[in-house]
Amino acid sequence: MAATARVLAEGGQGSYLARGLGRAYGDAALNEGAGVVSFELLDRLLEFDPADGSLLCEGGTSLSRILEVFVPRGWFLPVTPGTQHVTVAGAVASDVHGKNHHRDGSFSAFVTGLELLTGTGELLDCSRTKAPEAFWATVGGMGLTGFIRSVRLRLRPIESAWMRVDVRRARDLDATLEALEAADRSATYSVAWIDGTAAGPSLGRSIVTYGEHALADQLPPRLRHQPLAAPARRARTVPHSFPGWLLNRASVGLFNRAYWSRHPERDGQIVDYPSFFYPLDVLHAWHRLYGRRGFVQYQAVFPPLAVREGVTALLETSRDAGRTAYLGVLKHFGPAGEGLLSFPLEGATLALDFPHRGRDFAAFARRLDEIVARHGGRVYLAKDAFLSAATFAAMYPGADRFRQVRQGLDPQGLFSSSLGRRLGLVESP
């Protein structure tokens, strides 16, 4: 870190940004024209206390490494996003959430401390009780407050590497919302997979899944003697040259419809944890399915009273613009945390996948941004590539306070990113 502090001070590159595994969908992990510091070698586990599941690890440690080491020992991540290929520092910087936010909050709810290398070359220990301002600016701070050298988090004990899953079909958006609401009271994990191609009375039709960590005695006999052993899953890779035209509204529509009608309602299905939490990780480079032009993910949250109208507006606006989202994922959020730029608000969050087709996707994204802003919601920065500084300011009232705290931590503006400049969080050089 001393060497890193020297590099920062000598400023050969103007500004720097830490980069973990680069899974952000937009420009959060890019620092165009300036310096990027890879955290790939800062990936070591430092301390673990089996009495309370407290783990100290370097910022570049991946969530997949943590699971690989600790699931067999009976520990899980209390909050995990939809991919395990992100670093803990990245998880803090985006304050990621999972399918259990309504119950457990976001990633930072289980972070008990972090070490931050600031713009003054100081290695600052922050937590809720020590330098809390720096802590809450760094949580969700998109890497703009400094380098997160290490993170201390609490893992959660589990009895098995398996999940007990219940599945319900919801015929339209109202049914989907009711199903998620029912889950708030009774399920640890819940998510609705929305058929983005369904229209009219079927708009918002979905498969809703509820999940719990399976207890050892809930496992079928053949799994009981090694409850913590997860099955090896062979990941497949999509080739570079996959023809993206295969995925179009007609083909996806057919697939979704067939999937929805064939998917029976089931209770108590036992599923391995990677299939439940990381279904897309099975297909390496799954984004290549969209072909050379790729895709865009759009994720926003709406406050409770605006959910129905907001979600309907997003789905209908997309359809009207000729840009049907193939897949939508809807989750309930509990109350917001204290991260100044943290994404989750109480309500529901919808994530949509759009093929990157046609001209001027940015204009379309801005229309969606307007809908979200109008309904008092906001857009998730880890996925955003199009928000304007003005719309961002309207969505994130914590931005002013964030800029103040950041100024104290990084007076010379050594840390920056393309996203930070686009949203007006940092000054452009």
Binding site: R44, L45, L46, E47, V69
Partner: protein, 247 residues
């Protein structure tokens, strides 16, 4: 792998990759180098991930007076003595332009050759007395045919190669094996940002090749494998032509 292995230069890219690789195979470790804070981080990681005992020792290649004490401490840190020693220390200085810099020259020869001899000779004696163990020396293809530009590095590696060969002969019949490793360019601190690096290997690939060669009882391994053939060709080039090739 059973027993305890000493890795000298364990904060280097190859050293660190080897530590993880050997710990994953069940070996206990003693990690030696200058930056004990870095060593402790790698040690914690190996202990937590693989449940093997890992000790650390400070080591300075040029501090010859301390080498005896250093080696004894390493032996004591291993419950049943060391089963193997791997040397991953090296120093690649600036290119040869400009006036002769005797500080640089001394450093290049000391870290790449003399310091290694000092450690390996002590290890050889200790292991021969127990009639068991291995020595592994990470040299370089640069020692096979010396290029212009940083030729003292090549010279030191060439000397190291001869030394390994001589030690192997001296240890014949004692039950102690000697493995000489010749990597091509490896993506680590030593080569980061240098121009003209082709066919780079990752430290993990090199560590994998070393581990395999140790298990198979090999004597010389080029890593990646194709460097054996590239260097064989280069060694065949007649001197007058090689000089003009500006390789």
């Amino acid at each position: 792998m059973k027993g305890t292995v000493l890795i000298v230069g364990a904060t280097s890219g190859i050293g660190r990759a080897l530590a993880v690789r050997l710990a994953a195979s069940g070996a206990g470790l003693v990690l030696a180098g200058r930056n004990t804070d870095e060593l402790e981080r790698t040690a914690s990681d190996c202990r937590l991930r693989f449940g093997v005992p890992v000790a650390i020792q400070a080591f300075e290649a040029r501090n010859f007076a301390q080498h005896g004490h250093f080696y004894e401490s390493c032996e004591r840190a291993a419950p049943e003595g060391l089963d193997g020693v791997i040397l991953c220390i090296g120093y690649l200085g600036p290119t040869d332009e400009g006036p002769f810099d005797d500080g640089e020259a001394a450093r290049t020869l000391d870290v790449n050759f003399v310091g290694c001899v000092s450690v390996l000779e002590r290890a050889a004696r200790a292991m021969a007395a127990r009639r068991h163990g291995f020595l592994c020396v990470v040299s370089s293809v640069a020692g096979d045919r010396i290029r212009r530009g940083r030729f003292l590095y090549g010279v030191a590696k060439a000397a190291l190669n001869r030394f390994a060969e001589a030690q192997r002969a001296a240890l014949a019949g004692t039950g102690v094996r000697v493995l000489l490793v010749k990597p091509g360019p490896v993506d680590t601190r030593m080569t980061y940002g240098l121009p003209g690096m082709a066919l780079m290997a990752s430290p993990e690939q090199v560590a994998g090749d070393i581990h395999r060669a140790l298990r198979a009882g090999e004597t010389i391994v080029y890593t990646p494998w194709f460097w054996r053939w590239i260097m064989a060709l280069i060694k065949m080039v007649p001197e007058p032509i090689f000089r003009r090739l500006r390789l």
